[in-house]
Amino acid sequence: MKLHKQDIIKALQGILPENAVLFEAEDLHPYECDGLSAYRRLPMVVALPDSVEQVQQILGFCYQNDIAVVARGAGTGLSGGALPDEQGVLLSLAKFNQVLEVDSEARQARVQPGVRNLAISQAVNKHGLYYAPDPSSQIACTIGGNVAENSGGVHCLKYGLTVHNIQQLKIVTIEGELLTIGGSGLDSAGYDLLALMTGSEGMLGVIVEVTVKLLPIPERAQVMLAAFDDVVKAGAAVGNIIAAGIIPAGLEMMDKLAIRAAEDFVHAGYPVDAQAILLCELDGSNSEVSEHILKVRAILQNSGATEVRTAKTDEERLTFWKGRKAAFPAVGRISPDYYCMDGTIPRKRLPEVLKNIADLSEEYGLAVANVFHAGDGNLHPLILYDANKPGELERTEEFGGKILELCVAVGGTITGEHGVGIEKINQMCVQFESAELIQFHAVKNAFDVKGLLNPGKAVPTLHRCAEFGAMHVHHGELRFPDLERF
């Protein structure tokens, strides 16, 4: 028999202190959405546990009574992964905010899932260490959410994603069982469940502890800024740097609209007449960085850069980055709303993808600013729109969907680092065949046979895909007929 809301609240109050169970509408509103505010829903009830035992009890109770559970960290996710379930429990891990142990010798830190990404680096700074993945929301986002989304950041070309920088997880299964995945070493026995859990978007278990790997803070980091009068030349320059055997710590590209918006906002001294700029950060030992700077400067110049600057001081370096890091809010200043996309493409396809985006931009009458993790092909087109204009959000979402399908068509993916969540669930039908989606559901069943963890996210049902296909394939025409497909 299905329990009533009152019974569920009562049961949770039996597990948690009274003020750790929220159910009045005004208390639920802060949880109605994550960083993707276009989707909003109130949960039935919010649970705020502060111990692993409480999480186990809550999940065990939900499992017994078929109640959906959506785990949530800081709620900064950009794909609606933490969008609540109206009939379910929103499990906030905000109270799990302790760094439990730092082993500076083994370069590991054991932390609770609600610890903020940047707080880890701050906690270990005194040992000369840091945690490498640095999503742009790192001031606010939590490590538990980072694991759930396999977050990246501007430095992942060289230092990898979350999956490369963690070594142990403690998770609670939907049945309430506590499992340790991974180990104290660099691998563990059996299947690589650590990789499977990372990026699983809260679908397989609830993360209650994370052991991260730490790296020594590089002796020196230096950033260069290069301006180009042509986006294609900037793209080629990226390939030339890598062809020279140099893996920069960060390699970012911005197009004209993004450059101007950022410059107006933070006055980073960007060349506003450029069609594109590249920011290239090199790090390592002092002598290594010196050698690479000379090489990269020559490559940029030979690739047709109209201007190459090297930050002379650490302050100037941070100024160079400031514009890039503020690109999203900067675009937010020039448009009432913007919609951030997250496709990844093989880098060499950049010119045609940018051209297609420009064509779509014209077709939809919506401007696009492009910010690009150029080194690893992760593209963040920002579609500028006004939610107050009737129908504009819908047009924006359709436009965004087409950009993602374009990414798939050139051999890329619909999401590089933001996750599928609820936002890109339809595009999963474009990227994967039915048999692959069925395989994903089988993986989900291996952990959560009742489908209670984050229902409706990350992997679409075949039924949903059939509806989406019926909606989107007109006259059997393929979109982007000019593109080679593989």
Binding site: L179, A195, S285, K348, N378, Q431
Partner: protein, 354 residues
Amino acid sequence: MTDNDISKDLQQQVAQALSSRTALNIQAGNSKQFYGRAASGDVLDVSTHRGVINYEPTELVITARAGTPLKELEQLLADNNQMFGFEPPAFGDSATIGGTVACNFSGPRRAFAGSARDFVLGSTIINGKAEQLHFGGEVMKNVAGYDVSRLMCGALGTLGVLLEVSIKVLPRPETELTLVQELDTNASLAKVHELARQSLPVSATCFDGHRLHIRLSGAEAGVAAARKLLGGDTLPANDNFWHKLKEQQLEFFKSGGDLWRLSLASNGPNLGLNGKTLYEWNGAQRWLIGDDRADVIRDRAARHGGHATCFRSQHDTEQVFHPLDGGLLAIHRQLKRAFDPEAIFNPGRMYAEI
């Protein structure tokens, strides 16, 4: 390089095995037959499924059919001044990329650059329903769907037949040299931990019981500066130490007895086991040749959050890999069922239960 696509053929063989409920023993180069529990079933020969499907040096990725010899791929990468960052051991000339990924074998660079699993970006597999499925891709950042490609790494073929793998590659370091210092175990481990906390171009460490070997890789100036800072003798460039280490051809590996691989925190203590130990990966991978009982070895490793694998044995071993706890074993069983419902792929090769 031979270019031959037998994926349809393989799929058909899997379909037949499925309908007759016949177990399949997936094999390519057969260079890793020694590893894992005994194989059984009809051989599914992947060795002629060969060739590079896509290699774009500036995209830092290569996609190849699973039966492509590792040697050929490494040569192709070297011709383009690139390499596999995980420095895979081959254990024989016939080794293939598929087998390497299925075993998740990684060499001396692993602690500094990552394992095979870290570099795998995508894969095409045949699952236990005889379906061809594609996961991941050729791009470095991709979070669409569960990371099935990495799940295949180290699964010893028990979840599916690898058809193609896409792997991130790295530029070859501009220069490389190895420093050697005479130190004892404790001093060696202290030294590597001290170095690991600094911004130095170290790409491998090994303590063989007598001497500490440190490899430096990278830009000329960076390596030269680190060499000066570290001191010690430089090994002749033709010494091939790291190659012999990863292929287990050093003197250490030549003595008889079971070879155990212990994986635990780099600063985990001396486990007090009988026999001799060689330390790699700053201490996170330890090779042990000794005569302690398996349960004693496993218990010591587990006590420090690690695990122990009976890597090579003179006799058939019932338990090669570290036993799994109840909850984890249940998930392994369920995952096995999710990919291979009729248990036709390499049954019992990893654990008796899967």
